[in-house]
């Protein structure tokens, strides 16, 4: 099956920030979570895929087709939700629908109306009266209403309450039931991605720090809690990051099973994506 997205060696130089050699693959029928701290390069990667910035190097393929220059035709297949709301304050929901019906070839007004109904979005209110959650729901309704094969969502769930976030994640999971569909979602709310993502790419300081199948990563990595004396005895090659405090030490273990074979006396707990992120950022270089 063709991959929905294939990014190879993506580079972008902003002077004070560089995105370097980012590789990323999103197979059909799956959700790829792009995680990383603020300013790690998540939005830059998404912008490059959407052709919103000029990249300095690398290649991007969408459904097998290489994206070159300013050919926007591949965007018919993509539903986009960007970090900040993208619809104007004076507009109302039906007007947004009419605007986008003149943009997408396959715009489905009935489908849009159904999403508006399902998300309980008021039709007679101006968007300036919408809450952030309502604005995000509207963006997601528009992203889903032209029969896209790929959803690209930049921080689509940030700033939303857990109930709304859960509702939206269910929507994305329903979307990928078709194996021809895929979702790329960037978020720093790692618990959302733990719930929904099949694959995870972790960007740190513009580079890919970690990537793979989410379940495999969570199965492989582990969190070690031990004393300073124990930590000193451990081969540093087995650890990715360490944190030392007055009560003891914590470390991110690269391979939980291999570690337990080498150090059977020490306990390694399962780890969350958030802990992997925090260890990498705060334990960086330690």
């Amino acid at each position: 099956m063709t991959n929905a997205i294939e990014v190879r060696g993506l580079c972008k130089d902003y002077g004070d920030f560089q995105l370097r050699d980012v590789d990323l693959t999103l197979p059909g029928g799956s959700i790829l979570g792009l995680i990383g701290e603020n300013g790690a390069g998540k939005s830059t990667t998404i912008k490059a895929i959407l052709g919103l910035i000029r990249r300095n190097g690398g290649s991007i393929r969408i459904f097998g087709r290489e994206i070159l220059g300013d050919d926007p035709s591949y965007k018919e297949d993509i539903g986009v939700v960007l970090d900040e709301a993208s619809f104007h304050d004076p507009l109302k929901v039906p007007q947004v629908g009419r605007v986008l019906s003149g943009v997408y070839r396959d715009w489905d007004s009935a489908r849009f109306d159904a999403y508006v109904e399902r998300f309980r979005l008021p039709r007679d209110k101006k968007i300036k009266e919408f809450s952030r959650g309502m604005k995000q729901k509207l963006s997601i309704a528009t992203a889903l209403s032209h029969h896209p094969r790929l959803l690209i969502l930049d921080e689509a769930t940030s700033g939303l309450d857990p109930v709304v976030r859960d509702e939206l994640l269910d929507e994305f999971l329903a979307f990928i039931q078709d194996e021809d569909h895929a979702v790329l979602i960037s978020s720093h709310i790692t618990s959302d991605l733990e719930k929904a993502a099949d694959y995870v790419t972790y960007l740190h300081r513009g580079r890919v720090a970690l990537q793979g199948a989410k379940d495999e990563l969570l199965e492989t990595y582990g969190r070690l809690v031990c004393s300073r004396a124990d930590l000193q005895k451990i081969d540093p090659a087995l650890l990715l990051g360490t944190r030392v405090n007055q009560f003891g030490c914590e470390a991110l273990v690269k391979d939980r099973r291999a570690f337990q074979r080498r150090c059977p006396g020490l306990t390694v707990d399962p780890v969350s994506l958030e802990e992997i992120m925090v260890f990498t950022v705060r334990g960086d270089g330690k």
């Binding site: 910035i53 709301a85 104007h88 304050d89 997408y104």
Partner: protein, 211 residues
């Protein structure tokens, strides 16, 4: 792309109340004899320029450019839609000016010569609006509406000076506008044609921009 033009139309309609209110104030001041009718006519050309500038401001507020460029029309669609809508605004204001001046001429019982003068003086501001848009739109695509407003003020100041200065000079030379019938009548076409090279400049700018 028609969707993007439609979006500009909806936003302009939402601003319409303010435009009408200002027009009414100018109309009252004109009737009261504080301003002459040319001031009201100049308002049309100001609107011709203000509408696109305000659309840029709305787009920036909604961070629309990023989203719009991610739509199937891409960056080309964004620029094309803005030029198409601006052209519609310019043509609309020209038609409005012509009708307004014809009505004023008929109502005042002006002679044919005076009617022609009125018509031409109505066309000049609309043509000026087109020409200013041809200059301003690439600047707005490059710098955005905040800095663009500064250029707008400059353009309005220079343009108003040129128009009023030109009309005064003509009067002092004892010439009437109708004696310059052909060059003046060609001005709206020149204004509209100027939007073509302007489009390509704006497109070049927008294609290179990191959004």
């Amino acid at each position: 792309m028609t969707g993007l033009v439609r979006k500009d139309f909806y936003l302009s309609v939402s601003m319409f109340k303010s435009y009408v209110l200002v027009a009414l104030v100018f109309a009252m001041l004109t009737f009261a004899g504080i301003y002459d009718s040319s001031f009201f006519v100049a308002y049309v050309s100001v609107m011709c320029i203000m509408i696109p500038v305000n659309l840029f401001a709305y787009d920036e507020q909604a961070r629309w450019d990023k989203y719009a460029a991610a739509l199937p029309g891409g960056r080309r669609g964004v620029v094309m839609a803005r030029y198409l809508f601006t052209t519609l605004v310019c043509v609309g204001s020209m038609v409005f000016s012509i009708l307004l001046h014809l009505a004023a001429g008929l109502a005042s019982g002006a002679q044919a010569q005076e009617r022609m003068d009125l018509l031409l003086s109505g066309l000049i501001p609309a043509a000026y609006g087109c020409l200013m848009n041809a200059v301003l739109l690439p600047l707005l695509f490059k710098f955005g509406s905040q800095k663009g407003r500064l250029y707008l003020l400059l353009a309005l100041g220079l343009g108003a000076g040129l128009i009023f200065g030109g009309l005064t000079a003509l009067r002092e030379m004892g010439l009437s506008l109708s004696q310059l019938e052909f060059p003046l009548a060609a001005l709206p076409a020149v204004g509209l044609l100027a939007l073509i090279p302007s489009y390509f400049v704006a497109l070049g700018i927008f294609l290179k921009k990191d959004l």
